[in-house]
Structures are given as C-alpha cells and as structure tokens.
C-alpha cells in the first residue's frame, strides 16, 4: 500500500495562537480594504444597472470606449478589459427610463471605431427593484444555510441535550418563516434586524445548553465566509450572485471536515482524557485523520484549480471564490473550530461531556 505518511505525528495545535492571529490579520486587512474602497464591490445583480461585454476584432483601448459612452450621454460608467485586450466589459448605472442604452452606445462606437467590428457577447440589465430583491435573497440564503447547519450540528453532536436540540430546531423554523415574509424580503433594514436577533438568540442557546461543538462549527463557517469575502475585496473582485452561490457551497463543504474531526474527538476523548489534556487529544485526532483530510481536500482542490485555469472568464469569479473558500475551510477546521472548542471547554465546560453517543466513522 502506498501511504502518504505513516503514523503522522505533527504538531498542529501548539501553534494555534499564531494561526488565529494570522486569520485575524487577514480579516482585518479585508475590512480595511472594504473601508478604503467604500464598501463591498457589488455586481449589477445587487446594485442594478447594465453590464455589456463586447468582443472586438482588434485590440481596443478602454479610453476610446469611454469617449463613446460620454458621447452617448452616459454619466456613470466603468470600462475594463475582460480576459484579453480584444474584450471589454462596460458597466453602467442607468437613470430612470434610460432603456435604450445599447442603441445609443452602438451608434457612438460606430462613429469612433468604424474599422473595428465587434459582437455583443453579453448584455445584462438589472432594474433597481430587482437588484434590491436579489440582494435580500442572497443575504437570506446565507442566513438559511447557516441556520440549517446549526440545526444539523446540534442534532448530530448535541443530541444528549434533547431539549437544546428541540429549541434550536423550533427557533430555526421561526427564523426561516420570518425571513420569508415580504416585509423582510424587500428591505435591507428588516433583514439586518432578523440576522442580528437570530445571532443573539443562537449565542444564547449555545450558552444555555453548552453546545460546544455547534459553536465551534459555526464560528469556523462564519470565518470561512468572512475570509473569502475579505480576500475577494482585497483583490478588488466583484461580489455577485455566483459568488454567493460559491459561498453557500463552501458552507456546505467546510462543515464536513469539521464534523470528521469532531467525530474523532468524541471517539478518543473518553479513552484518553485521563492521560492528556484536551489540546493534546485534539492534536492526536488531527494526526489520525490527516491522511483522509489531505486526500479529500486535495482532490476537490485539484478540480477547482483546473476549473480556474481552463474554465474560462465567465466562471472565473465563482471558481476563485471556491478556491479561497476551500482552503479556508480545511484550515478553519483545525485552527478555528478546535481552538473554539478548547476555549469553550475551559471557560464553560462542566467535565466530561465530550463523550460520544454515535458510532464514529
């Protein structure tokens, strides 16, 4: 049998303080970049407006196109190369009733670049109302998935506290119903209210029922989403619907790793807790599952990198977000979820609740 590393015994947990700091620094940089850039760079899906992608036969400079746009009477626009110097992406903010932007622009391009034929590869127009709705939907989708994961982890790991699970499930349903109300769906303000209240209540539930695993899992997930968004912001990338789809996929995927480690911890703890402190036990668990973790992460990573290189421009934002999220997901299991677990146990732990009831895989 070819094996990656026989009986690994690396030091993981010992350096966790440094790794957490690194995470915090990264997130800090991200927030800084957001402040500097005036917020997240939203795509037209969320801001409304138009995006036109043109492919010219010969190279073209953005400045020429900006001229054309000015001449066509556009006031708020952005022109960039897209892929190579023959492709351009034009983003526009339109005022009310400016529906025929394309015709006007095409006329001007005809005047300024007569010898350079082009095709319209893509032309998207999102009205302001739809933009707001999509924004709300995206936020709620993220909320739904996080709540879903909370419920799932609770059932899976905190089943000893039956009442706690029940409360979580009921609360989860409540949040989901409220968020589907029109009032919330159509307004930034109410969405944020719902999210804030939900977070507070969840934190309260976790404290009350000592949901240590759930806390660890959720913090890791939130970390993953934050890191992905921060890195994208630092790189100046746009946040649109496909990015949100990537975030949701990452949420579903990252929790897997975490569950594997938690399962193992539950298996090992009763055997070892008399001999080793918690952080040593966790280190051992990480080592035991190392082979499996590396391979599963690797296979998906390889596939995502292939997509990144060969998948084409259209899907690049999505694959980039997936890449960041996947790396973060694997990382967060070891350096976010478990330290949170350790911290929680030290602060709020009541003894030996880290035992298992289910058969681990």
């Amino acid at each position: 049998m070819l094996e990656l590393i026989k009986n690994p015994n690396f030091e993981f947990i010992g350096i966790r303080k440094y790794m957490i700091s690194a995470s915090l620094i990264l997130i800090g940089l991200g927030i800084l970049s957001m402040i500097l850039r005036g917020g997240l760079k939203y795509g037209i899906d969320f801001t409304g407006g138009a995006a036109v992608q043109l492919k010219f036969e010969q190279e073209v400079s953005p400045e020429q196109l900006r001229e054309a746009l000015r001449a066509a009477g556009m006031t708020s626009y952005e022109v960039t190369h897209f892929g190579d110097r023959n492709h351009v992406l034009i983003r526009l903010q339109l005022s009310e009733g400016e529906q025929d932007y394309l015709g006007a622009i095409q006329k001007q391009i005809q005047q300024i670049l007569p010898g350079n034929p082009y095709t319209i590869e893509q032309n998207d127009l999102v009205g302001p109302k739809i933009g707001t709705e999509l924004r709300e939907k995206a936020m709620l989708a993220l909320l739904f998935s996080l709540i879903g994961m909370i419920i799932y982890i609770s059932i899976r790991f905190e089943a000893e506290s039956f009442l706690g699970v029940l409360v979580t499930v009921i609360f989860g349903m409540l949040v989901l119903t409220v968020s589907s109300l029109d009032v919330v769906l159509r307004s930034d303000f109410w969405t944020i209210v719902v999210i804030s209240i939900a977070s507070v209540v969840v934190a309260f539930i976790c404290l009350k029922f000592n949901f240590k695993y759930a806390v660890g899992g959720i913090v890791a997930l939130v970390h993953d989403v934050l890191v992905t968004v921060c890195v994208l912001s630092i790189l100046g990338k746009e946040i649109d619907l496909t990015i949100v789809a990537a975030l949701l996929t990452i949420v579903g995927f990252s929790i897997n790793d975490t569950i594997v480690i938690f399962d193992r911890i539950r298996e090992e703890y009763p055997k070892e807790h008399k001999r080793m402190p918690l952080d040593r036990i966790i280190n051992k668990c990480v080592n035991i599952t190392l082979s499996r973790t590396i391979i599963t992460s690797l296979t998906v990573l390889v596939v995502v990198i292939v997509l990144l290189i060969f998948g084409g421009e259209v899907i690049r934002p999505f694959t980039l977000a997936m890449l960041i999220g996947l790396i973060s997901g694997t990382y967060s299991t070891i350096y976010i979820a478990t330290p949170v677990l350790i911290f929680w146990q030290e602060r709020f732990g009541r003894g030996d609740e880290l035992t298992t009831k289910k058969v681990p895989a």
Binding site: M1, Q122, I130, L248, V314
Partner: protein
C-alpha cells in the same frame, strides 16, 4: 434476493444500459450537422422535436439567448391589485402571440407571481426586437376571410408557379413511395368520420365520402364556382381538372400539404384550411419565397385567379390585396389519430375594423331557449359609438362570411357573421369551452393595457460566448477527470481502477438523469459536475482508508472489505448531506444558472453515492470471489 450476486450485477448493468439509452438522443443531436438538422426540420419536424425534448436542455448561458423579466410600469398610474392581475393576464396573452413571430422552439413565457412575466427566448439576441416585443401596444384587427374555394384556387396557382419557376424545396424522400414524400395521412385507409380530407394525392379517402358528411352539391351554388362540381367529394380531383390520383402529389407540391376540415353542414363553406403540424415549416418556407408571396398578395389585383364569383352581394368589385394568416396554437385541430393541424386562412389584408372600436368584451354563459346558445360559452362584445356604426355596416355587407379576430397577426378566432348587428352588441357563439371564451375576451380587451409593460431585468448571452463556455467546460472536465483518475490509480492501484470506473459511470448516470428529467444544463451546472468529480472520489477514499485500517488490524480480506464499506457509509452520508442542504438553499433562492448548479451538484452527489458504494462493492465482491485472490492491491 436483493443481496444475491446475480441481482447486484443485473441492477448495475441495467443502470448502465438505461443511462446510455437516455443519453443517446443528446449524443445523436450533438453530432448532427446544421444542414442535416435543417432538412429534418422541414421534412420531419415532429421527429426532430422529439429528439430535442429527450436531450439535455442547454441553458441560455450556453446556447445564447435572452431572459426577460417584464412588469407593468406603475409610475404613471396607480391601480388596484385586481386590476394589475388582470392587466398582467392580458399582457401575457399579447406577449405569447408576439413571441410566436420569433419562431423560437419552445419559448418560455410564464407569470412569476401576480406582477411579473418571465420570457426566455433561446437563440434570440436582438435586444431591439425584444424591446419592441414588449413596448408595442397590441394590435387587434377584424379581417374578412375569403371563401375556401378561392383559397383552393390560389393554391392551384401556387402549384403552377412552383412548377413554372422551379421553386421546389428539397426534402428527404422516404423509401418506397415512388417519389411521393410520405406525407399522406396514415388514416387515409380508415373510413372514420371527422378525419380531414386530403385535398390532393393518393386519395382512397375519396371513396369514404359518405363518412365525411359533406353534402354533394353545395359548393357550386353558394360560392358560385364556375367549375363544375362533382356529385361527391371524389370529384375533388375533377374540380381541379386533373385525372389520376397517382400523379396528383407530383403536380401539387404545395397544395398537397393542405387538408380540409370535415365538419359543419358544408365543408366548403368554412373558410379555413388545415395544415398538419409536420407540414407547417414547409408551407412557411414556400409562402416566404418572394415570388409566391407576391403571387398570393396580388392574386386579385392581377386577376391571375378569377375572384368575382366569390364576391358576396354587397361586397363590390374592387380587387383586394390578400394575405395568408395562421391560427393560434390553441385553436389547433386534433385529428382522430392524434395528429395536430394548424388552421390557416386566406383573407383580405385591409382590416374591416380595428380594436379601437371595441369598448368591452366579456365571457358568459348563454341564456334563453335557443339550444345552440343556452348554457353554452359565449363572448359578448360591445362596440364604441363609432364602432357601432362600423359594425352595423360590416355585418350587413358580409353576412354569412367569416370575420377573423386577429391579434398581432395571428388569428384567434374566426366566427361567422350570422345576422346584421345594428346595436353594437354582438355575441360570439360556437366557442368550444368557457376557458377559451375567457381567453378570447382577454384577447379582445388586450387592445389597451392600463400601463405600459417594461423590462425589469434582461440577460442576453451571445451564442459565441455560450459556445466558448461549453468548450471551456468540456476541457476542464476532461483535464480534471484525468488528473483525478491518475491520482487514484497511483495511490490506490487496483482499488483506484475500480474507483475510476465508478467515477466515469457516475458522470454518465448524472448526465442521463439530467436528460431524463429534461433538466437544463447551465455553465455553473457544468462547474457543479466538475466539482462532483472531486467530491465523488471522497467516498471511495473514505472506504479505502477504512479497509486499509481494517487490514492493518488483522482482518481477512473479505472481512476487511465488508467492514470498510459498512463503517464508511455513515461518514459518506454525513459529508454529502451538508452539501445537499446547501444545494437546497441555493435552489430555493437562486436564479436560473444557479439553480442549474444546485441541480447538477445534487444529482451528481446522489449518483456518486450509488456508484461509489454499490457498484464498486459489486466489483470487489466479484473479484474476491475467485479463490485465487488472497489480497488486492489497495
């Protein structure tokens, strides 16, 4: 029984064969050259459509096209929720009629909630046309239909023209019919009533004249046909002055595509003709040729065909320009054998009246004692002041003629004028159902929407970008698959080989399921498929790692395999479950392409569980059953 080896093998093979069967149309269609496709579109559109329906649908972002979300512009005028709902219904009707013109196969037009309409047009990327689709106000016209006999005469003229100028359209000829394309109705042998009568060509049906309920002599008298009418419908051939059924179809390249409707007291008094759905593309092709188009339009003006005999008493002698219009899909006639026929009319181009003269229209049930009317669906029309006078004149001049209700150039209904109507209040009888009556009322009122429609969202993808995306997708899938396959072989050797087989099978089954459900493949969907490649392998990794552990702890080969599979199962389920959860959320909240991603991801994971757990185990059990196998390289 379920755990026996035989059953397992049979199930696996069945799944493989089934998948290949479902994938076949997609494969076949993708290999077809554009010319072959066009020929098939003309000669066998039904068959082509079937192939398309059973293939994987490509999303707009892959084949190019437009996605529009329409809503009413309420900025100028407020309206109640009910008014808005009604307006959207009317708008929907208008849009449906107009999209017809684009000739898109399977356009998607549906309401989204009570306030929005979604339109998807594959292959159309002209934004200007799309806006015209939406912004133009609906055009309702009332046009006079020309008598069927006149229509028949013009068909003959077109046949001659085609012969003279050699305008034949080449279509695939089927074997064994001696040069006659087999468009003859399959039911021409049957002597059933209510089957449309074929006009020209081999016509054994002519003998079943008795079944067709056509009284013999009416045509000549009423329409004043100059030609001698035969005593029965077998005289049709005589009517057109040719002998010998056999070479009819040769001489009637155009005419043979048409059928007559066999209902009513007198088949020749209804103005319409029928065209089997299969023949429609060919008829349109001919009608679009400039020579034929002109010949039809100016048939009266040039007097190439004598029209005076067809004039009603008060109609006058002035020649009219003519046009051929098609009936709405909803009004298709379905024959006994299930063939659908589209109605087609010859009519005077200039409308007798436009929608502006209509004040109101509503659907209702007839009252009173007249059996034709009582409790049958009716449509009541109310004209405006001017409209009343207009309509009085029209109903007097054209009594017993058919007046077509045309919305945006499509004939919605063509009732016969039975009496003079001086009061401006008319009722349309003979509406087949209450639903149709309601639709018709909507059509009549469609002339004026309370507020204009506007485009709330529009996404247009050019076909070149779509093709590029497909290419990139294929390339990524290939490379990704190869890398993963290579890795599995190196790291798990024989086990890797088995896992790779399962992986390839997974891909095939996933695609087959997509084809089977007629699901749409989008670009994110392709990404989802590729992600599945990476994730599917996880399951096998888990199983193999577990088996290795069991082997290390000293179990026998068979025992280790069994234990490995059993214990890995819950972990595999766990991992995939959370991804499923995320996919469900994505499906709920996502737009088209993202929904596609969620769907392919879910299907891919589900099938990967089947192939990774069930299929690989079958292979392992088969392999280790042989006594010579003591260990496997893993």
């Amino acid at each position: 029984m379920f755990s026996s080896m035989k059953f397992k093998i049979i199930l696996t093979v069945a799944v493989i064969v089934g998948s290949l069967y479902y994938l076949w149309p997609t494969f076949y269609l993708s290999r077809m050259s554009p010319e072959k496709r066009r020929t098939m579109h003309l000669s066998d559109p039904q068959g082509l459509r079937e192939l398309e329906e059973r293939s994987i649908k490509l999303g707009l972002d892959l084949q190019g096209g437009m996605h529009l979300v329409l809503e009413l512009d309420k900025s100028q005028m407020s309206m109640s929720a009910d008014e808005e709902k009604d307006a959207i219904d009317r708008a929907l009707e208008i849009i449906r009629t107009r999209v017809d013109q684009f000739g898109v196969s399977e356009p998607l037009i549906q309401k989204a909630g009570d306030e929005r309409i979604i339109v998807e047009l594959a292959g159309v990327i002209d934004t200007a046309r799309a806006r015209a689709l939406v912004e133009q106000s609906a055009y309702l016209e009332f046009k006079l239909c020309k008598p069927q006999q006149q229509f028949l005469d013009i068909l003959s003229r077109v046949d001659e023209l085609i012969g003279e100028q050699n305008l034949y359209v080449v279509t695939e000829k089927k074997e064994g019919s001696g040069g006659t394309p087999s468009l003859a109705p399959a039911d021409s042998e049957k002597k059933e009533s209510f089957d449309p009568l074929k006009l020209f060509g081999e016509n054994e049906a002519a003998d079943s004249a008795a079944a067709v309920k056509a009284p013999a002599d009416s045509a000549a008298k009423d329409s004043g046909a100059v030609k001698a009418a035969g005593q029965d419908t077998s005289g049709l051939e005589e009517l057109l002055g040719t002998a010998g059924a056999a070479d009819q179809s040769e001489k009637r390249p155009f005419g043979k595509l048409f059928f007559q409707a066999p209902w009513g007291q007198d088949t020749r008094r209804e103005s319409e003709l029928l065209v089997p759905v299969n023949n429609v593309p060919l008829v349109r092709e001919y009608l679009n040729m400039p020579q034929i188009k002109q010949a039809v339009e100016l048939a009266e003006v040039d007097n190439t065909v004598d029209y005076l005999p067809y004039r009603s008493q008060d109609e006058g002698d002035e020649p009219d320009t003519l046009e051929v219009l098609w009936g709405d899909d909803d009004t298709d006639y379905i024959g006994q054998d299930g063939t659908a026929y589209k109605r087609v009319f010859l009519m005077k181009k200039r409308p007798e009246m436009t929608g502006g003269y209509l004040a109101n229209a509503s659907a209702t049930l007839g009252s009173g004692y007249d059996p034709k009317v009582a409790n049958k669906p009716l449509v009541l029309m109310e004209m405006t002041g001017e409209g009343t006078d207009s309509f009085a004149t029209i109903s007097e001049r054209f009594i017993n003629r058919d007046l077509a209700i045309v919305l945006d150039k499509i004939v919605k209904f063509a009732p016969r004028i039975i009496t003079r109507i001086p009061s401006g209040r008319a009722q349309i009888e003979g509406v087949p159902s209450m639903e149709k009556a309601r639709d018709l009322a909507i059509v009549l009122r469609a002339g004026a929407l309370p507020a204009p429609l506007q485009i709330a969202e529009s996404r247009t993808i050019g076909p070149s970008l779509g093709a590029d995306s497909i290419q990139s997708g294929k390339l990524s899938a290939l490379i990704g698959l190869s890398l993963v396959v290579l890795f599995m072989l190196i790291y798990y050797k024989f086990g890797g080989l088995v896992a790779n087989f399962a992986l390839v099978l997974d891909m095939i089954i996933t695609l087959a399921v997509l084809a089977g459900f007629n699901a749409t493949l989008t670009l994110p969907g392709i990404a989802g498929l590729i992600l599945t490649i990476g994730m599917a392998v996880d399951a096998n990794v888990l199983i193999f790692e577990r088996i290795r552990e069991e082997l290390r702890s000293g179990k026998t080969l068979r025992a280790a395999i069994d234990a490995g599979y059993d214990r890995a199962f819950s972990a595999i389920l766990d991992g995939n479950l959370t991804t499923f959860l995320a996919a469900i959320v994505l499906f709920q909240f996502g737009t088209g392409p993202i929904k596609g991603f969620a769907v392919t991801l879910s299907i891919g994971l589900a099938t990967s569980m089947f192939t990774a757990i069930y299929v690989t185990r079958v292979i392992f059990e088969l392999w280790t059953q042989r006594k010579s196998v003591k260990s496997i390289s893993l």
